[in-house]
Symmetry: C2
Subunit: 377 residues, 2 copies
């Protein structure tokens, strides 16, 4: 056990001068209130959703390292054109890290807090790239006995996102779904959920290697967007599954629109008569990521009954309400070593995460590369 | 009165060989059934929504005229790349014309049909570019006494679309709206509705002349998308009105995305703290037309709570149900000479509509140019 009165915390600062500065600050850890605990963070993933806050709109090809190995500092230039979008966070050193897991090392006086002392818990709420995290006991998800912090580090973002996609599909009246960047950790998880729940899933990947990876773990419909037959293959899979909703992590380029085009082509194969406005079937693409930061380019050749929009986990959880959200969380905890298991390619310390070599790898957002930070190292 | 046993009907045919042929066919007019009437069509507008069926995907720069002045024939080439989208209508001579008005010249035996005999009625349902139209009595909207066919010709598409936009705004929880191509007949109508109902409307136009036209009829918020200050002006108008829903007739290019960008900018001016995912306020753009046929290009710099989708009158009317749709229609009939009045720049016969000179004008879809066909000429 530790005193846990101070600890390192990663901070991301964008200065009004147009410079990004990421560094490790030593911060005081307050004594927990009655309903609070202090968790020693032992595992916290670098999700694509963390990178936006971590590096903002900085051009990371201009990144420079300074400071010392124990106190590294990364700086980079933010392009002038991108500074407008950063207005809301200028000159504030922001903590980073959506989720993580670790050991409860201090607990407030309440029974709920005391019950967690010594336990391994998963957490969500930001500021996880830190040695210690003060958090409300109610916001901790105790992990089943025998679960390590590394196993429980990604309990929220990916598992709830994958479950949220399936829930959204059901609630909006679709019977099968499409997922892009489908070989990702999240995509593999979604594939496991769909296999388990008997839902047809069309997986769109960007290489034959990724296609093989998904087929090897049992995926029934895998389509490679780099294949010359992509549009025909996708249409065939959509016809077979009846999927009319897609979740797209790519965002930029023509993919979202191509999915709508192929959905309409699949639907109209069974159409009885010509309709100049296209089919009456709702076709939905939700963009939940931005792996491709270029503009979304939509060639509107799929009639008038369609929608493309943003999808985000937290508004979704708010919409379904606390009781239904709790059910999803309980399923994650119960299946954390199977359906919701994550794979990491590297485990690094806070200091190692702030090296140019590491950044070059995890900031690529490449499928298959996933970093876990262990701030207790 | 006329025998009305045969009449001319405009037909649009796309041949499998890739040729469009538009001509006037002489068709038999069946005797009306008990609940039906025959209407002599005296006024039927050329709406942008008619042009899609009229000329399909043909390249009208290749249009040629043949036949005779009494029986004109227009032909044009359909580009190979566009033939796929025409598959559903190949080799079928399709009647055209969404809506129109005229005099009931024959009526079936039922009381409802007989009551219409000699009356001026408005109609919707296609095949209006014809001398006579057989139609169910229940589908006729009797015009108030003293209303001409020309005044009642555009009772459905534009008036119900404009009312549908306001209804959609209300039902989806927005308090003000944005409209593009706002100097159009439809746009002027929407402006009159909003002024009358006390709703803030941001009108986006594409020239200073159109801006002046709208200001002259009392529009409070007019923004010119060709101005160098467009984005700033639009943001200011969105801040003043709180509009978070837009109806876009343009479709192609960057406008839909720019509206979302400016909505988010207007919203975040009152934001208290930085949110990396943008505001929590839903921002909606409905694309209901395609004046610009290029791809829709969306620069995603407005957070994650947004949607762009198709909007179409008939699915909207189905969604709100028959009773609410009837209320909208009753309002149109009551205000057909004021709020819902249409202006036409030319009135032509069926034969005149099929001349290259006329096509060159009405197929431009230019704001301010609107043709009315009088098939009884």
């Amino acid at each position: 056990m530790t005193d846990a009165t101070t600890g390192l915390q990663l901070r991301s600062l964008i200065k009004a001068s147009g410079e990004l500065e990421v560094s490790l600050a030593t911060v005081d850890i307050p004594e927990p209130g009655a309903d609070e605990v202090v968790v020693r963070v032992e595992a916290t993933p670098i999700n694509p959703s963390d990178l936006g806050l971590l590096f903002g709109a900085a051009d990371m090809t201009t990144a420079k390292a300074s400071g010392s190995p124990q106190a590294p500092v990364i700086t980079a230039k933010v392009p002038d054109a991108a500074m407008k979008a950063m207005a809301g966070r200028l000159d504030q050193a922001m903590p980073v890290g959506n989720e993580g897991a670790g050991t409860v090392v201090k607990a407030g006086s309440s029974a709920a807090a005391q019950a967690l002392l010594g336990k391994t818990v998963a957490m969500i709420g930001g500021a996880m790239y830190a040695q210690f995290r003060l958090i409300r006991a109610a916001d901790c998800l105790p992990l089943p006995a025998g679960t390590t912090a590394a196993e429980g580090a990604s309990c929220f973002v990916n598992p709830l996102t994958a479950l949220g996609m399936v829930e959204t599909m059901r609630r909006e009246g679709h019977k099968a779904l499409v997922h892009t960047a489908a070989a990702s950790n999240l995509g593999q998880m979604l594939n496991r959920i769909c296999l388990k729940d008997g839902i047809d899933l069309v997986n769109i990947v960007r290489s034959e290697a990724q296609a093989k990876l998904l087929r090897d773990i049992g995926a029934n419909y895998v389509v490679d967007s780099t294949s010359p037959d992509f549009m025909a293959d996708l249409t065939k899979a959509l016809e077979a599954t009846g999927a009319t909703i897609a979740f797209d992590a790519i965002g930029g380029g023509r993919l979202a629109g191509q999915i709508l085009t192929c959905m309409e082509a699949a639907i109209s194969k069974s159409a009885k008569e010509y309709s100049r406005y296209g089919s009456n079937v709702m076709k939905q693409v939700y963009i939940y990521g931005g792996l491709d930061t270029r503009p979304t380019e939509i060639v509107r050749n799929f009639g008038m009954i369609w929608a493309v929009g943003g999808w985000l986990l937290f508004p979704f959880l708010q919409k379904i309400g606390a009781a239904d959200a709790a059910k999803l969380r309980a399923r994650v905890a119960a299946e954390i070593k199977t359906t919701f298991a994550s794979n990491y390619t590297q485990v690094v310390s806070l200091q190692q995460a702030l090296t140019l070599d590491a950044i070059a790898v995890y900031n690529k957002r490449a499928t298959g590369e996933k970093f876990l930070i262990d701030p207790s190292r």
